[in-house]
Symmetry: D2
Subunit: 138 residues, 4 copies
């Protein structure tokens, strides 16, 4: 049985090599909601000096996915099946915040969305993700 | 004026902090086509031990974006406006290859697609990206 | 010069063969917002008796597109470049409402979203659309 | 038990009020593939005189969905969960062909894509759709 409580998810992310490497932290998490923050470093910038689209889409996927996780019972898990991101503003530096929320969490499918904003609150991207919910085999 | 020739793009990527940090290399590049490869390391894995969706989507975005870049004249550049990724297989380890290709490259918009495959040739993800093409201000 | 005022758009839709054939009406329209309604008839149902996904996606595309239109000056027009729809509930009958809103309207690109709901207010679908904004040649 | 054979699907579509009303016909169908054709009439045109995006997206959804149906056993059915369409060319008149194909058909999820082309073979749109596969309750 997995522990999908917000506090357990926060601790798993803090200890996760992927999230640490990427520079992502859980800023806030509660049932059905997860905010991910990242401070833009030179490694996050593309060839023209702005934050790479992949950084933004990874933040969004992570924020939505963790928000979904808090809504699952311990005997199911989720995998992303689809991610759609629309990029609205370039961002060069500073702190980014991806605010993920669950729109629908069912027994087979889950769906959520995220806003990614910069420090001034500008909407950098909007994202939507769909997940398959799968029974965990013990 | 930017140099958008395949060889120039390959050199830029090899020297780019983002691409080096991420572990992405240009495997092949020619006009309208770009293959990006990445060897999965522990940093690329999510909380359940498979390659994070953000790694796959970043590879796809990069492969399509660089393929588009080779089709642009030196006085224009492109920014991703939309990225859609469908995840079809989990992948735990080994080398991933994102094969990007331009479907349409116009004076205002460009559109391309990518297949991401693992070492056995399984289709891990399909992606599509749209780009705004913008005149470079000198 | 096109007249893109909400009242002009409402009148154009009421006289448009496409919208009349489809059964779509403008329920509400103001700058940056457009609600489209449709009463489900047998022609709107797919082989398993529920409203066809194409009916829902067409309503969403129309609601977002007309919302965008109200934000354009008379010397520009818009064409849909991308439409993404996530279907969340089946709907068999009754009145559907697609509430479209503009999230971003720029000189080259516009982006908007729509909720499609049934009479009980259930969220049937979420949609996002991107548009190229193009100068009108007189 | 539903009959999902290509010939049965072709007959169902020919007798379906939705497909007849819309003007869609099955041009070709075989396991995992379905081509839908439509002759553009004035009812299919939007306010600026080109084929409405909803017509194109409905054709794509239908072609992919019927292609998926031919891959299902008679005791399961599918519902569209996601549709993504990128519009590449305007089209005013003539015959449109949406060529749908299954990329993946599993026990829980199916995924397919479609090209929509005009009579000259120009690529009008590219589409991708995801489906939930659901056991039929007798």
């Amino acid at each position: 049985m997995a522990d999908n409580s917000p506090e357990a998810v926060r601790e798993m992310v803090a200890a996760s090599p992927f999230h640490v490497w990427f520079g992502m932290r859980v800023a806030n998490i509660s049932e059905g909601l997860c905010d991910i923050e990242l401070d833009v470093t030179p490694e996050h910038r593309n060839l023209i000096g702005t934050t790479h689209g992949g950084v933004v889409s990874t933040m969004a996927d992570t924020a939505i996915g963790l928000a979904v996780r808090t809504t699952l019972s311990g005997d199911s898990r989720h995998v992303t099946t689809q991610l759609n991101v629309t990029y609205l503003e370039k961002v060069d530096s500073g702190r980014l915040l991806a605010a993920g929320r669950v729109v629908r969490s069912g027994s087979r499918l889950a769906y959520g969305e995220a806003d990614v904003r910069d420090e001034e609150g500008r909407l950098v991207a909007r994202a939507a993700a769909t997940f398959a919910v799968i029974p965990v085999k013990d």
